[in-house]
């Protein structure tokens, strides 16, 4: 009886399950393998990107300097009027004295172009600091010209034909002479970190762009954080549920997907043309980026508010708190880590944005470090854009260097976001 039943009975479920296990395990393995492959691919691309940027850009943090012996001739530099002295004449004389056999205007011009035009300013600064030097002969390290810099860093091959080279044979001879006498060396490039933009790569720095970025982000943060959080609180906690509010919500979500250059056009039309705000000012840049980051902040703040357990708000209402008290004492503090993370990510996005700022004129060539939010300025990504467009070989290096600085700031901001989230995180 029992046997018969076993024969006719359908297969037991566990047998069916066991029979299928192999197939399941295999597809599981396949899926994991695919995942690993894609991660490897992503890491590979990232490494390639970073590798190429770093390998091109690390040179920007060093600058070639040459040592000149100059005579601070009182005839060329008037001790009474240090600002008017013929400092470049002194430098040129120093060069001529090193290479007395150089003759002819063209060759002399080539010789003079070994050192940066900024050498004269550095000499002037030194003399103003120590006026007692006038009349003496001194040795001074001055920045080399960008072509010399590039050559000395080994980016120009001496074996190719002279007419294909930016550095000519006679210049190579002079540089070799500097090398023999230990009068040329690479130093840490402080100019890159504390100067504004310049037509000469060896005098160009990112500080102007960093300050511009700082002011722009400051304006963006001060405007978009309170406005964004307040909108999120209103929409999430107070707004009546009706068609109009639905419409607003849909629009906010859509705004997050609008290409950023549109915001730039809007800024140009409204802030500059209609309200007459100054072009190229970080204030206007901040306004435009505020428009761009608001949807991000509103959406992430709403998500953060939504994730606070409703029981907390009920508890507060239950002891007689008004809705505002319940939100500001309990819900908002619990939502803060999410809100801050969203805000910092929005800020990071704003920091990396260039297209809308091109529209409002922040793409201008600006040498001075901006002193306020209404001064003309540029920002890091636009500076990168400008340098990438320049023909000089030395700007290539600086472009990558600036990208490294920008990436550094972005990593820093993301780290701050992570730390804040960890700090504020609470269990319930």
């Amino acid at each position: 009886m029992n046997n018969q039943q076993a024969d006719t009975a359908p297969r037991r479920a566990i047998d069916v399950i066991n029979a299928g296990m192999d197939r399941r395990k295999r597809s599981e393995k396949r899926f994991q393998l695919l995942g690993k492959l894609s991660i490897a691919l992503a890491i590979g691309f990232l490494a390639m990107l970073l590798g190429s940027i770093v390998s091109k850009g690390y040179g920007a943090f060093q600058q070639t300097y040459v040592k000149l012996d100059v005579h601070l001739d009182a005839a060329k530099i008037d001790a009474e009027n240090l600002n008017k002295g013929n400092y470049s004449g002194v430098i040129k004389e120093g060069l001529r004295n090193m290479f007395p056999d150089v003759s002819g205007r063209r060759e002399k011009r080539k010789l003079y172009s070994l050192v940066s035009q900024s050498a004269a300013y550095q000499l002037q600064a030194k003399v103003i600091e120590e006026p007692g030097l006038i009349g003496q002969a001194i040795s001074i390290w001055v920045p080399a010209d960008d072509e010399v810099d590039v050559f000395f860093k080994g980016h120009i091959n001496r074996d190719i034909a002279e007419e294909d080279r930016r550095i000519k044979d006679n210049q190579i001879r002079w540089i070799d002479h500097f090398i023999e006498q230990n009068r040329i060396e690479k130093r840490f490039n402080t100019t890159f970190f504390n100067a504004g933009d310049s037509r000469n790569p060896e005098s160009a720095g990112i500080w102007g762009a960093v300050v511009g970025s700082f002011y722009t982000l400051l304006v963006t943060l001060l405007l978009s954080f309170p406005v964004g959080v307040a909108s999120a609180i209103y929409l999430e906690e107070f707004a009546p549920k009706n068609k109009f509010i639905d419409f607003i919500e849909v629009n906010i979500n859509n705004l997050a997907a609008v290409p950023s250059i549109i915001f730039g056009l809007l800024g140009l039309a409204i802030f500059i043309n209609f309200f007459g705000l100054p072009r190229s000012a970080s204030f206007v840049g901040g306004l435009v980026l505020t428009l761009m980051t608001l949807p991000t902040i509103i959406i992430s703040s709403r998500a953060a508010l939504k994730s606070v357990p409703p029981s907390i708000k009920q508890a507060a209402l239950g002891v007689g708190a008004s809705p505002m008290q319940a939100i500001f004492y309990h819900v908002l503090p619990l939502a803060m880590p999410g809100i801050l993370t969203g805000t910092i990510l929005g800020m990071a996005q704003a920091l990396g944005e260039s297209a809308p700022l091109l529209m409002i004129g922040m793409v201008a060539f600006i040498v001075d470090i901006p002193a306020g939010i209404f001064d003309p300025s540029t920002v890091l990504p636009v500076q990168i854009f400008l340098w990438a467009d320049s023909p000089e070989r030395a700007f290539l290096e600086r472009t990558s260097g600036a990208i490294m600085v920008l990436l550094g700031f972005l990593v820093l901001m993301n780290m701050v976001a992570v730390i804040l989230r960890k700090q504020f995180e609470r269990r319930w």
Binding site: K241, P309, S311, I312, Q314, A315, A316, L317, G318, V319, G320, A321, S322, Q325, Y329, H330, L334, R426, R427, W428
Partner: protein, 297 residues
């Protein structure tokens, strides 16, 4: 360990005894028919704290409470029982207007507290909720220190500003909630770090810190172990000496143990109200009997 056994035993005893008695009674007295949804029993008491008249609650199209009349007496424990989804919580939320926070919810009828309609236009929910406190099903302490949990209510209502007065409120509330001895050394640690039962007593302490006149409890013990349940039941009996308590419970044993009066709800109707003894031992309505004898629910 001891307490756990005791509580367990108590529950074991109560059920069969009641069931048997109810069975006996069933054969003697005729019950109100199952199809009749008129409330049977005395919905009114002399000198009520709260008087609900003709309450209807809708969630959108759903009619969740249908024409309910019920009084809450002074210093009594009124328990509400019934199958889930019958509207017990909904009714409880009417009493401190927590239903206002639900968008789709509409409440009609009058609820008088000491003679004043709390649904009236001139009534502000803030003082109302201060005088009608609520304890929720799931313990929901604020993720702050135990002290801050207690003090939030008194602070926002301005009950005390002096540091000593505030400290006194903390001590008194925790003592009344029977939690003082367990937490007196760690008032500055987070309330969320307590055990479930302690958290619920903290929530009760938080509620009584604003000196309410009525306390609403929505299944306060459903997430708790028997020991914590026993502690909270004892607490309710103590509190009922000064407050009115309305408790929703899914445990008939609990209703039988703590309450003076019991109301039985069924699909949005209030079916039967009476003293707890009467409802459990001699229900007048067939549906009530079905429920307490375990034939329904």
């Amino acid at each position: 360990m001891n307490v756990e056994q005791e509580t367990g035993q108590k529950e074991m005893e109560l059920n069969p005894a009641q069931t048997k008695e109810a069975m006996d009674l069933q054969s003697k007295t005729p019950k109100v028919d199952r199809e009749n949804r008129e409330t049977v029993g005395d919905v009114r008491v002399d000198d009520p704290r709260m008087r609900c008249t003709d309450i209807n609650v809708h969630y959108g199209d759903k009619h969740a409470i249908k024409g309910l009349n019920l009084d809450v007496g002074k210093k009594e424990i009124l328990s509400m029982i019934g199958p889930s989804g019958c509207g017990k919580s909904t009714f409880l939320r009417c009493l401190n207007r927590m239903n206002d926070t639900i968008d789709s919810c509409r409440v009609t009828g009058t609820i008088e507290m000491d003679g004043v309609d709390i649904n009236g236009k001139s009534i502000d929910v803030v003082p109302l909720r201060a005088s009608v406190g609520m304890v929720f099903q799931k313990p929901n302490p604020f993720p702050k220190s135990i002290r801050e949990n207690i003090l939030f209510g008194p602070r926002i209502h301005g009950l005390a500003t002096d540091k000593d007065d505030l400290e006194e409120i903390v001590v008194n509330s925790l003592k009344k909630a029977g939690l003082w001895d367990e937490v007196k050394d760690r008032l500055d640690q987070p309330g969320t770090g307590l055990s479930g039962g302690q958290q619920q007593r903290l929530c009760i302490a938080r509620t009584i810190a604003v000196e309410p006149e009525i306390i609403l409890m929505d299944e306060p013990c459903s997430a708790l172990d028997p020991i914590s349940t026993a502690a909270i039941e004892e607490l309710m009996l103590e509190l009922s000496e000064s407050y009115s308590i309305c408790i929703v419970t899914h445990s008939m044993q609990q209703a039988a143990r703590v309450s003076n009066r019991t109301a039985y709800f069924h699909l949005g109707d209030l079916i039967e109200v009476g003293t707890t003894d009467q409802v459990f031992n001699a229900p007048l309505h067939q549906l009530t009997e079905d429920y307490i004898t375990g034939r329904f629910g």
